[in-house]
């Protein structure tokens, strides 16, 4: 399955509390993603929460957009990527 980087901007900052409610919110997102075969692997969040870069496995860019809409998440840009491991070159 292709891997994608998804860049998002949150003008008011992304707030997912580090508690049960936050965990539940993340699990809801994971659950909704599964409907379209999208797997959220990881996100990198800028310190002020205004920008994120998220890594996904998904069947298509359309699946990424559909789950973003279902989760009420903005999408700035989707890029298809491959993994490059620097420690591979020894």
């Amino acid at each position: 399955m292709p891997r994608y980087l998804v860049e998002r901007t949150f003008p008011d900052g992304l707030q997912i509390p580090i508690d049960d409610a936050g965990a539940a919110e993340c699990l809801e997102i994971v659950d909704r993603n599964a409907n379209r075969g999208v797997t959220w692997l990881q996100s990198y969040v800028q310190d002020d929460g205004s920008r994120t870069v998220c890594v996904y496995d998904a069947p298509s860019p359309e699946a990424i957009r559909a789950t973003a809409a279902a989760n009420s998440l903005p999408v700035d840009r989707i890029t298809q990527v491959r993994v490059l491991d620097p420690y591979f070159y020894r």
């Binding site: 292709p2 994608y4 901007t9 003008p11 409610a21 809801e28 659950d31 909704r32 409907n35 069947p59 298509s60 860019p61 359309e62 957009r65 559909a66 973003a68 809409a69 279902a70 989760n71 009420s72 998440l73 903005p74 999408v75 700035d76 840009r77 989707i78 890029t79 298809q80």
Partner: protein
Amino acid sequence: MRSRATLLVLEDVHWADEATLDVLRLLGRRVHATRGLVVATYRDEELGPDHPLRGVVGGFAGAQGVGRLQLSPLSPDAVRALAAPHGVDGEELYRRTGGNPFFVSEALAAGAETVPPTVRDAVLARAARLDPDARDLLEAVAVVPGHADLALLEALAGPQTARLDACLASGMLVQSADGVGFRHELARIAVEESVGPIRKRDLHAAALRALRDRGADVARLAHHAEAAGDAESMLRYAIAAAARAASHGAHREAAAQYARALRSGEGLAPAERAELLDRRAYECYLTDQSDEAIEAAEHAVRSYRALGDRHKEGNALRWLSQVLWCPGRTQESARRAREAVDLLEGVPPGRELAMAYAHLADNHARASNGPEALAWAGRALELADDLGETEIGLHALTTIGSIASVEKLELSLERALQANLPEQAARAFLILAGAAVDSRLGARAARYLHDGLEYCGERGVELHRLYLLAFRARLELNEGRWNEAAESAAAVLRIPRTSITPRIVALVTLGLVRARRGDPEAESLLDEAWALAEPTGELLRLGPVAAARGETAWLRGDAVALEAATKGALELASARGSAWLSGELAAWRRRAGLAWEMPASVAKPYVLELAGDWTGAAELWSQLDSPYEAALALGDADDEGALRAAHAELQELGARPAAEIVARRLRARGATGLTRGPRPGTRRTPGGLTAREVDVLRLVAEGLRNADIADRLFVSPRTVDHHVAALLRKLQARTRGEAVASAAQLGVLEDR
């Protein structure tokens, strides 16, 4: 387990030994007092009435903390979803597996149409546990697809029918109103394949005799006759079954039955064989099985030639030309069309020649050679009128209409519908819908698409239906409904077929959705479309791909690629007088600052664009329900207000690359304060509810339960649970009633 939360999973306990079952009994009695969770799985269809696990499970009745979850088989939708990425027909897979997850996953892993080895081993291992008489009975049932009633069973298995209870108890067979049959079609095939050839033949012969006596369905008789090696019966029943299937619009089945009839070998007279090949080619064409259609048509040509029947040889050549065109073999198709006319002009004229003229006209029309198409159609019409061949006349009239006017086409459609000529009607729908989509007559296009899809669906005309599905995707793209366009296009691309035109249209549509959004994997789709379209040399196939490649080159700011993508296609479009394609290709060149000449015939919105009348063009595009084109036209303006409007509209559409191009122009003029614009996913309603949560809340307000809401919104009940929990939290409500009341206060449920 007493002190720590523990999860213990025991799989396949239907195979457990006594000691394990003892542990399970103990756990069942004590588990409620621990912090542990024990999950024991078993296949209930493996449990005969005296299986030891039955006693264990029965003993749990009423035990505290023990529950039983019955796993239902995968639904047809679920099987379809699993099958789609493999390019496998989900409905067929569901029919063969009954939704059994093991069979489904194994069948998908094995890929081919046959029974996967893992499934065969599992099935035969279970059959081996039956006593010999019961196994014989199982084999007898296995030669009967679907269900066998008791009378048929007795004819096949005689006294062994008494072992039916053992077979039912094993779970391999199930009983229904129609008799007994295998629980899973794959299991039936596995058992049937394991039967020795002599016994299998005898069983089929017995089934044929028994079913013939009671006048059973001809398709069933043909099946048993073939397996019994009874060529004469097979031929007779297969031809009857094919004719009946075709008359019911089951053209795929008809094609398969003609193939079966053709397998009957020496019993076939040469003329009969040639006619069967003809009919098979036709059924394969209607169901878009081009390779098979071409093979049968080539055979038919050779057979008629050997028979010295030049009328029929010419007719078969004409048909070969038709089926060669679908997968894009245009040059061979054109050559065969000419050969058919040349051959038939050398013999006394008849309906074959009229049809060959009509087909040659159609071939020219599809290659956008208008004048020649009209000339040949005229000859076809004249001859058809002389001969009183209304269907051929209608075919020619449709071709003339496709070049001359929509009104004439509508008349053709009306007459084809009245005369109940499905192929002519389907063809008229297809040409009308395609023309309406291309010339941005959205409302008309939507009507033709809707009616045409319904008409072709009812009559099993799969080929024309596929075209209409692809055109619908393109219409949705034109109207700015990109999510729908992408879904419709992806649906067409998932159908593994051979006609290239619908595939090209779908590839271009999905490629443009991605390119306009700035999403990845647009170019690869357009490259595939180009590889299919370019060798045909036909404007209708390659023109839209060239325009799409020009557009993506413009979005990338790559004028060199735009030049390469559009040059040849624009020359062809101008030469053929195609107003829309000439206009679009010239407009992209103008936008990129490349050389262009005003083509002889250009559609109105492009006339305005090419003349630099950007507001006029934008207004006309808006009237034509083409918001993206309208915004691009405004984006060419030399006016800050227009540019700002274009920028806002492009952001609203989610057209990031084009919005950035317009934003650069605005910044170059010194404009400031450009917003990032609304993002469709983030617009929130009062109370912080998402659009989806509002949808759910509306249904809650109607008093629906979560399961009903799930059905209504096509999501899982679990998803609805999540939405309801989220909206209760956001509205700080304890009950559904409170949520509805508080939403009403906030005005959440008012129409947006």
